[in-house]
């Protein structure tokens, strides 16, 4: 390989010599695929910390999972939710005009393969019948799986939900080959014609190649909630402003580790990595230079986790907001330091168990309240603030689009499920994010200074269920969803349910909530009532809340309860021999639980 100058005199020359793409694609990617670390040669890109755009598309994850999604076209309605929610760009949709499809199918020799490929397309009402009724030719809609990108999380199956058009099926060598051939066929087809991509339906965005700026191949965990947020943010920005008018700065954290594991880069757009604490100020430098170059219209996003923006880089974020610069910030809020093994952050929920906030004899998880970054940001002048989740995709997309339109700083905090640290299944990102909103753990917020002069004009809580009430009640069933329901569904809170302590046979989350968790519920309610008051939904007495803290008294009560349960368990073990012993233990357990229940009712 020829010598590459480090500092070429002009921008054009610098760009030309930044990376030798041919060498990178032919030698580096191939070497990383085949060789062990001891055999790898040093290369100039590593030395200069450069990874060519979209090199992640070459990464093959097909060996990871045992299952892959199976698409059932006759059940598909073309809603695109599976495509939106996939964290790995492993499932894509396309609308094709019948003649264009036929002409591609005619080039396939094997009739069985032809039938298989034709069967990938559905005559949906959305893209076919509606257009035919208008006198236009309808389009055929198909969903395609990229087997090299799919990690088998099954998030798409959950996103599809009641449509029942996706399920998981076991992979074999033969079917893997089929899936690859089918995906190659998808790539050969023309792009979705623009007439099928409605500007009003935000869910259609990912039909456009301008939206697919995150190509997958990132090393994120299966089902990662952060990766979906990054995909959706890049999609909404690229779709409206064009892929050429957009760049990113990323604060070190999980997001930078999985998107820049050499030699794989999932982004097609310019991206730079800052230190953990200074993504926001790094962004100020980029914005200043871009403005000097006449690039005021280019959109700049700074991304990072809750550790980066609520803790270590909090001051840097505040400084950036005060500058009034046109910079957008996306906070991937996992409520924990995900990358370094799950230490508590100021975004962690009260009572949440994590490293540095363990649940044991003395401590019962995190004792502090959750820091509400959205509330703090709203108190800075002239800043757009939103709190959203990928499960509420229309809300999410709208927030990103509004942040891009806003002439000044914007901060979007996105609830991001972290499967290993939250203790939830790989396919649970969307479900848990929805539950976080329903349970007031993480309310949806839009604060737009353009909407008026008063707080209540600017703050919008639309999208939260039962917005007038303390908690959400499901009309059909009458069931009320509160923070305890959310906590029950995640392993990070399981120690707070006494059933778990009593008997490991009882599934986590089925016992009575601990006093500390009940305090956490009150803390979430206090935050919700504050938002209701600020948004002008409630005022005066109804919005009044006492300061909530995880009290020492609460911890003592929990310790007593635990001691009683442990004693009962010990007694049961001592007396257990055969079925009679088991029955006796069950009696003891039932009596103890009844006693605890009665004590609670008395209180």
């Amino acid at each position: 390989m020829g010598k590459v100058p480090f500092f070429a005199p002009t921008l054009e020359e610098r760009l030309e010599t930044a990376v030798n793409i041919e060498d990178f694609n032919n030698r580096i990617l191939d070497d990383y695929d085949r060789k062990g670390s001891a055999e790898l040669e040093a290369d100039v890109q590593t030395a200069r910390s450069i990874i060519p755009a979209a090199s992640g598309s070459y990464r093959d994850f097909s060996y990871i999972a045992t299952e892959i999604p199976l698409y059932d076209p006759s059940n598909c309605v073309g809603c695109m939710e599976c495509v939106i929610e996939c964290p790995d760009t492993a499932i894509l949709g396309k609308v094709v005009e019948p003649d264009a499809l036929q002409s591609e199918l005619d080039q396939v020799d094997d009739s069985r393969d032809q039938r298989m490929l034709r069967s990938r397309f559905a005559d949906t009402q959305k893209y076919f019948s509606t257009f035919e009724k208008k006198g236009e030719e309808g389009g055929l809609f198909g969903i395609f799986i990229d087997p090299t990108k799919c990690k088998g999380c099954a998030e798409c199956v959950d996103a599809c939900g009641d449509h029942q058009a996706l399920s998981m099926v076991t992979k074999t060598d033969e079917t893997l080959k089929q899936f690859q051939e089918t995906f190659d066929f998808y790539n050969q087809l023309p792009d979705t014609p623009k007439r099928f991509i409605s500007d009003r339906l935000l869910t259609d965005m990912m039909l456009s190649p301008d939206s697919l700026l995150y190509v997958g191949g990132a090393g994120s965990c299966a089902g990662c909630g952060e990766a979906t947020a990054l995909r959706m943010m890049t999609a909404a920005t690229g779709f409206v402003h064009g892929p050429e008018n957009f760049g990113m700065v990323a604060s070190t954290g999980c997001n930078t580790v999985y998107t820049s594991t050499y030699p794989y880069n999932p982004y097609t757009i310019p991206w730079a990595n800052s230190l953990f604490e200074n993504g926001a100020t790094f962004g100020m430098g980029v914005r200043s230079r871009w403005n000097q170059m006449g690039w005021e219209g280019k959109k700049l996003w700074v991304v990072g986790g809750d550790g980066a923006f609520l803790d270590i880089g909090f001051q840097s974020l505040s400084r950036m907001i005060m500058s009034g610069m046109d910079i957008n910030v996306l906070v991937l809020d996992t409520q924990v330091y995900s990358n370094t093994g799950g230490q508590a952050s100021t975004a962690s929920f009260m009572s949440q168990r994590s490293d540095m906030a363990w649940h044991g004899k003395e401590l019962k998880g995190k004792r502090e309240n959750r820091k509400e970054l959205a509330n703090i940001c709203m108190m800075h002048p002239n800043v757009y603030v939103a709190q959203t989740t990928c499960a509420h995709f229309n809300h999410f997309y709208r927030c990103v689009m509004e942040a891009n339109e806003y002439d000044g700083p914007a901060v979007i905090i996105a609830y991001s499920t972290c499967q290993p640290e939250h203790g939830v299944a790989d396919n649970a990102a969307m479900k848990q994010a929805k539950l976080a909103v329903d349970s007031r753990a993480f309310p949806l917020i839009v604060y737009d200074p353009r909407k008026g002069d008063t707080m209540k004009e600017r703050l919008d809580l639309k999208g939260n269920p039962s917005v007038q009430s303390d908690w959400y009640t499901i009309r059909k069933t009458g069931e009320t969803i509160d923070f305890i329901d959310f906590a029950r569904s995640e392993y990070r809170f399981h120690k707070h349910f006494l059933g778990e302590i009593e008997s490991p046979k009882i599934t986590a989350g089925y016992g009575e909530p601990s006093p500390e968790l009940l305090a956490s519920k009150e803390e979430r309610l206090a935050n919700w009532r504050l938002l209701q008051e600020l948004a002008g939904i409630k005022s005066g007495e109804t919005a009044k809340v006492a300061p909530v803290k995880q009290s020492a008294a609460g911890s003592e009560a929990a310790a007593k309860q635990k001691a009683a349960l442990m004693a009962a368990r010990k007694a049961r073990k001592a007396s257990t021999s055969g079925d009679e012993g088991g029955a006796e233990a069950n009696k003891q357990k039932a009596a103890l639980l009844a006693k605890l229940k009665a004590q609670k009712a008395q209180k």
Binding site: S74, A154, D158, V169, T170, Q178, F179, L435, R488
Partner: protein, 79 residues
């Protein structure tokens, strides 16, 4: 139903086509433990293929096991 009791994963082991007493065909996707996972809307031409012992086109990709009235179809067994 509490959220923690919601089904966690929907993977299928086989697809069953069944003719009911009134002659109507229905199709369902099942898990290995014979638990119904979800329904399948039958499209034009599928039943003719099933009656001929062939795999319906939409199942050529992924090659799931296909049963017709309790019997595994010929094409699956021969494959």
């Amino acid at each position: 139903m509490k959220v923690s009791e919601a089904p966690q994963r929907r993977s299928i082991h086989y697809i069953e086509y069944r003719q009911t007493e009134n002659g109507e065909w229905i199709s369902e996707k099942f898990h290995a433990d014979c638990e119904l996972v979800m329904e399948h809307k039958i499209a034009d031409g599928e039943i003719a293929q099933i009656e001929a012992g062939e795999r319906p086109d939409w199942t050529i990709l992924g090659l799931p096991e296909i049963r017709c009235n309790g019997e595994v179809i010929k094409e699956y067994l021969e494959h």
